[in-house]
Amino acid sequence: MIEMMGVHKWFGDFHVLKDINLTVHKGERIVVCGPSGSGKSTMIRCINRLEEHQRGRITVDGVELTSDLKNIEQIRREVGIVFQEFNLFPHLTVLENLCLAPIWVRGMPRAEAEKITMKYLERVCIPEQAHKYPGQLSGGQQQRVAIARSLCMNPKIMLFDEPTSALDPEMIKEVLDVMVSLAREGMTMVVVTHVMGFARTVANRMLFMDEGEIIEENTTQEFFNHPRSERTKQFLSQILSH
């Protein structure tokens, strides 16, 4: 599904991604963790070209990511992303937020788009909020709307960039529940998060990144029980002590 080979990226002089090699198969759930500034967000944002890589190859669903606009838009239709700050469109109602892409990108008629929208709103358990504006919802509800908005495009891959980092602890659970149920249905997911409980429940593989490199990659069990590198052990001890 996703193949990253020898990917490098610089922000000016700063080498933010160093030789990233990653393969994600269909139905796999990958969790990426690591300290701030390690390049985790940058890496997953390269997958749908929100960031451009300068060296190496990225292939998503068989299509190579280059500066060709058509390829990019084709890939973006199949890859959904959920941001830390939700990024809902504040001037549209929840319903309109969700219908926007199906109508204008997939060319669906409005009635059909609204049906799909309501289906996904029920999926994330907030159908009654359809006619409210994002500003009237709580953080947890907004993030669930954001997830539903991506799902309305029926993507093959879902990317999550620290989806719960901006939420109150009480609201984290409702979002994680949605993500867990998505995983159980077999969605291919790449998740950047610090919530290790979620990783343990759902992830097939864990990645640890530091300073732009993938330091360790392993199955979930092995990653938590037998971390290989010192850096990983140090990070895990800090993060699991809460």
Partner: protein, 361 residues
């Protein structure tokens, strides 16, 4: 469940008189300021009220009727038609009235939020109405006699120039703003150069250039209507200003909005039209309306190319040997008319902001 410690806030009883006392006379400084303002009102406002209303002449036919010492509004009354229509033939003035009345009536539905099919009204106003207005005002079709633009004058010209300028400069400004922010270097350079050059020249020069240079660029024999030259000049000028206002709004939109829209697969124009511009334009409504109000008043500069807008025709009227010495009345009248239009635009802008709930979202 009410928290047991919740209490209602203590009420402080105030009568209006008490409030006045508290605000105006509570401290020596306040007493001084209140007396100073009252004195200013007596010194400045009273004479104006006396001149404009109490001692003014309201009825009559000629300057002999202005016997009292105040303003001679007879001057305005007698020349009123000319101030409104310029030299437009009296028999055809119904066409001017119809044009502007039609505009007012067509705009009315836009103020009612529950009115259905507002998009149709908008489409009518933008697409059909310009042709209707043009045919009504200029004539030549449907048996309407032609009225050349050199006969137009007064408030009619002001409204035509300002109206067209406002309506056309808005999309021009949006396109220029988007172009200035474009990632394509050629487009960005062209838009930036246009904006900076036009903004750096006074409108009077732009009008002059549009009036003098435009004919030079055109093939032999092809002559551009004077009013059209004014419209082009005013529109381009206002468009450059509008571009910067819109660009300010675009800059205020967080990057996440662009990213979310792009990540959903929306192309550039859809992203701009559906997500970014609706938000950006809402934010800068005050700036946009500010530009419109400025444009409305800038129309007075068309005098320089020989067009008689409201101010121009009033000035010409004050030079009439029959009515010498009434420049004050003329300019006061012009000021009041301009103020009415500009204040109306300002109120509509506030109404629009309220309707679009700019502050809430």
């Amino acid at each position: 469940m009410r928290h047991p410690n919740n209490q209602t806030a203590p009420l402080v009883a105030t009568s209006p008189l008490e409030r006045v006392w508290r605000n105006l006379f509570s401290s020596p400084m306040n007493v001084f300021l209140t007396l100073a303002v009252l004195f200013l009102l007596y010194w400045v406002v009273l004479p104006v009220v006396q001149w404009a209303f109490i001692e003014a002449n309201w009825s009559g036919e000629s300057r002999q009727d202005c016997v009292r010492s105040g303003a001679c509004w007879v001057f305005i009354k007698v020349r009123f038609a000319q101030f409104m229509y310029g030299f437009y033939p009296a028999a055809e003035r119904w066409r001017v009235n119809t044009t502007f009345l039609l505009f007012g009536v067509a705009c009315l539905p836009l103020f009612f939020p529950s009115f259905p099919r507002k998009a149709w009204v908008g489409a009518f106003l933008l697409v059909v109405y310009p042709f209707v207005g043009f045919i009504l005002l200029v004539g030549g079709l449907f048996g309407l006699p032609v009225v050349e633009t050199r006969l137009w004058g007064g408030l009619m010209v002001t409204l035509v120039v300002a109206g067209v300028g406002i309506v056309v400069s808005f999309p021009v400004g949006v396109v220029l703003a988007l172009g200035r922010r474009s990632t394509m270097p050629v487009i960005r350079a062209i838009c930036t150069a246009f904006i900076e050059i036009v903004r750096g020249i006074p409108l009077i020069s732009v009008l002059f250039m549009a009036s003098v240079m435009l004919p030079m660029f055109l093939p032999e024999g092809m002559n551009f209507d004077k009013l059209l030259r004014a419209l082009v000049g005013v529109t381009l000028f206002a468009g450059a200003y509008m571009a910067e206002v819109v660009r300010g709004g675009l800059q205020a939109i967080p990057r996440g909005q662009f990213e979310a829209a792009a990540a959903l697969g929306l192309g550039y124009w859809r992203m701009m039209g559906l997500v970014i511009l609706p938000q950006a334009l809402r934010i800068v409504i005050p700036g946009i309306v500010n530009t419109f109000i400025g444009l409305f008043k800038d129309t007075t500069l068309v005098l320089i190319i020989g067009l008689f807008d409201l101010l121009g025709i009033i000035r010409a009227a004050t030079a009439d040997p029959n009515w010498l010495g009434f420049t004050m009345e003329g300019y006061a009248f012009a000021a009041v008319v301009f103020w009415i239009f500009c204040f109306s635009m300002s109120r509509i802008s506030l109404l629009l902001e309220g309707r679009l709930q700019v502050s809430d979202k």
